[in-house]
């Protein structure tokens, strides 16, 4: 992002004009940070004593990140259970595939549940991934009750003493209360059978300010514990994830960078921030 380097070159703390800072604010908005957070970052940066504008901005952005742990929670005495949720098309199923591959590669026994019984061929999509990666997929009937598939999945995981159980769910707009209730029901099934250790909300990096509503509503229904930020291989900077962290303190835990099962990794604040401000 040439714009940022140009601005940084001009900005010497103290010597920067208001319009320089305005330009910087514009660039942050272009990264989907939103007007509110962009204003906050700029004012924090302006008040920071720092050798360069870039480090001031960097510090301000770091300050907006949550200090909670970004590690996947793991329990030792039973199957660690992960519920994956989000709006339609954000990359939930692909992220489940990536997560199961990552966990399996580390020597874990993983079971996944295809609880998207709604979208056409969603079950087959997850089964294809399961076959490729070599992870058993518990599936029910198309248009069946997702909570009952989850129930079956729990049983399979428990019987096989799996280390991890990952539940893929149907995409749903957070505004549809009946679908959100369905999700709560799925979570209750998991709660009753030992507990859910992670509820991961999948957020597409191209998402605009609506992402904040998504995070708030999903948290209200199923207490989200972490974000998976997908599609970071595109031109979108994914600034909405920072805005969500700032607003809800839910940590970004993983990042998706492509359509392959290996295009995935833990969230790294430094490189994320570099991406936001276009420095290498």
């Amino acid at each position: 992002m040439a714009l940022f380097s140009k601005i940084f070159a001009k900005l010497r703390i103290g010597g920067a004009s208001d319009s320089d800072w305005d330009e910087l604010r514009s660039s942050l908005i272009e990264s989907d940070l939103g007007a509110k957070l962009s204003d906050e970052i700029v004012s924090v940066a302006r008040a920071t004593k720092s050798e360069s504008a870039e480090s001031a901005i960097r510090k301000a952005l770091e300050g907006a990140l949550t200090t909670s742990s970004r590690d996947l929670k793991v329990v030792e005495d039973r199957t660690t259970t992960i519920l994956v949720v989000g709006v339609n098309g954000t990359g939930k199923t692909t992220s489940v595939a990536k997560l199961m591959k990552d966990l399996k590669d580390r020597g874990n026994d993983v079971v996944v549940v295809a609880a998207d019984t709604f979208r056409a061929a969603a079950i087959e999509q997850l089964q294809t991934w399961g076959a490729r990666i070599g992870v058993p997929v518990v599936a029910g009937k198309f248009q069946g009750d997702p909570a009952s598939v989850v129930f079956d999945g729990v049983k399979v995981a428990r019987e096989s003493k799996a280390d991890y159980l990952i539940v893929d769910t149907a995409g749903r707009l957070h505004t549809k209360s009946n679908l959100m209730d369905e999700l709560s029901k799925i979570k209750r099934v998991l709660d009753k059978s030992g507990g859910v250790d992670e509820v991961l909300l999948v957020v597409d990096a191209t998402t605009g300010q609506n992402g904040i509503n998504q995070a708030k509503s999903f948290t209200e229904s199923v207490s989200v514990t972490g974000l998976i930020l997908t599609k970071m291989d595109g031109s979108a900077k994914g600034g909405i994830a920072l805005a969500i962290e700032r607003e809800t303190a839910i940590p970004i835990k993983f990042v998706g960078t492509g359509e392959g099962a290996d295009d995935f990794g833990p969230f790294e604040p430094d490189s994320y921030i570099s991406g936001l401000i276009g420095s290498e």
């Binding site: 098309g89 990359g91 999509q125 009946n178 597409d204 191209t206 595109g234 031109s235």
Partner: protein
């Protein structure tokens, strides 16, 4: 969609309204508010700025004329409304048909935008208009995209051309080409080519899209965009425009609360119209995009035109007339009337969606209330009423404990639900009687169960310019 836009505009307008004569400094103020509201709604900053500048340019020379009118703020409003309509695409454009052979529509877009679902919706839409579309499965990349299209095609009764299994196997260019040939041979008049999702920055996949384009020479390339898209819309639209080109835009997931500002950026910067809108997961949740309606909706005017159209299609005129006659004759409002009205409402489609089209109903709190309307409750209520005997329906006062238990059993609902319904119906009936005694107009549609929020909703409506009735269905009927 455009929720916060609506409320921002609305508050800007109410302050304008209270001012009477409008000065050019007032216009500047409202333009500044509009700009920041647009940016908050994911509109690109340059687009928000140019839109604001344009309003200023248009409004200031008109101030003298506007201030002479009885309602100056209305004059400003009209300028903004007209300009927003223009920016959103001017006149609605229909699909361009091929001069000879099948009309080819190619769908392109980012991963997860909703292309495959949209392909099904478009197919059903075209089919309902008497066309014979063919779906072509050229997304051979995402696991089971082909299976998904096959299932979608089957559910709308449209054949799917899918010679390759996908999941990385097969050449999408050849499939598209063979699909077109197949359609020509079998005399399909439309071909809808579903393609893989791709990123603007993926040069290789972008060139694949252009090869598909060259192979099938589409009459329309439609760029499918998620209404939730943020600021990246500008870069992505630009790269699709350069990489493959497109003639029109389709907005998906408009049934959520996304503000949809990206759409405004895309049409402004690419000069391509939004042609269709997808508003739900059902294959029928699809319509032509109406810029004028969307503009009114943004401005907090509600999509009255769409509502009126739906109401007209759903409401049985005889039924409405019967109600009015009955009412005028002084007959009492019975459970049977209640049920017919429930059925009419159900026919009108998703109730919350419908109410969302009304003026003032798109603001945050209202939206939440609408979204929480339990549509399943309508179905349950219907089941309960249907389990009653005609005598019971005629006079709910005869419903003693054992009758209620029988009805509960027959409808598979709890006794408490039956009690609840009876209570609410009795309340509605009382209200109807009062209304008549008070000399009010007989409403075409009294309050129904599951719509407990209705009376409150009415209070929050902005001053109505176009309608006389406080009742949504009645108002719709007036406008139809």
């Amino acid at each position: 969609m455009f929720d916060s836009l609506s409320s921002k505009f609305a508050s800007a307008f109410s302050s304008l309204r209270s001012r009477g004569r409008i000065k050019s400094s007032d216009v500047e103020e409202i333009v500044a508010e509009i700009r920041s509201a647009l940016i908050e709604s994911d509109v690109a900053q340059e687009v928000a700025k140019s839109f604001g500048d344009r309003i200023q340019e248009l409004a200031i020379p008109e101030l003298e004329r506007i201030n002479k009118s009885t309602n100056p703020s209305q004059g400003i409003f009209e300028i903004i409304n007209a300009e927003l309509t223009t920016v959103l695409g001017g006149q609605t454009r229909r699909i361009r048909m091929a001069k000879k052979g099948p009309t080819v529509v190619m769908l392109v877009g980012l991963q997860g935008a909703g292309k495959t679902s949209l392909a099904g919706k478009l197919a059903q839409y075209l089919k309902s208009q008497g066309n014979t579309p063919l779906l072509v499965a050229s997304d051979l990349q995402r696991p089971n995209a082909v299976t998904q299209l096959q299932q979608v095609g089957a559910s709308v009764g449209v054949p799917v051309f899918a010679p390759e299994p996908g999941n990385g196997v097969g050449d999408p260019v050849k499939v598209a080409q063979a699909g077109k040939k197949f359609a020509e041979d079998k005399l399909h008049n439309f071909v809808i080519v579903d393609t893989a999702g791709r990123l603007g920055v993926d040069a290789e996949l972008m060139s694949q899209a252009s090869r598909i384009r060259d192979a099938v020479k589409p009459d329309e390339i439609l760029f499918v965009v998620d209404a939730m898209l943020g600021q990246d819309a500008v870069r992505t639209a630009q790269s699709f425009l350069e990489g493959v080109g497109f003639d029109g835009v389709v907005l998906t997931k408009l049934d959520g609360d996304a503000r949809g500002g990206a759409a405004l950026s895309i049409v402004t910067l690419t000069n391509r119209p939004i042609m269709f809108a997808a508003t739900g997961e059902k294959t029928s949740d699809f319509d032509l995009f109406h810029p004028d309606r969307m503009a009114s909706r943004i401005l907090g005017m509600g999509d009255v035109a769409t509502l009126a159209e739906q109401a007209k299609a759903a409401l049985d005129p005889d039924l409405t007339k019967k109600f009015e006659e009955k009412f005028a004759a002084g007959d009492d409002f019975t459970l049977m009337d209640f049920l017919s009205q429930l059925q009419a409402l159900k026919k009108m489609g998703s109730m919350s969606k419908m109410l969302g089209m009304l003026p003032g109903m798109n603001s945050g709190a209202m939206k939440k209330q609408l979204d929480n309307l339990d549509e399943g409750e309508l179905v349950r209520t219907e089941a309960i009423i249907q389990s009653m005997t005609p005598a019971e329906r005629h006079d709910v006062k005869i419903l003693n404990g054992s009758r209620r238990a029988r009805i509960a059993k027959g409808s598979g609902r709890a006794v408490s639900e039956v009690n609840n319904l009876v209570d609410r119906f009795t309340g509605a009936q009382k209200m109807m009687r009062q209304m008549r005694n008070g000399g009010g107009m007989p409403p075409g549609m009294p309050p129904v169960p599951g719509m407990a929020g209705m009376p409150k909703i009415n209070k929050q409506l902005p001053p109505k310019k176009k309608s006389k009735s406080g009742n949504p269905a009645k108002r719709a009927a007036e406008q139809g």
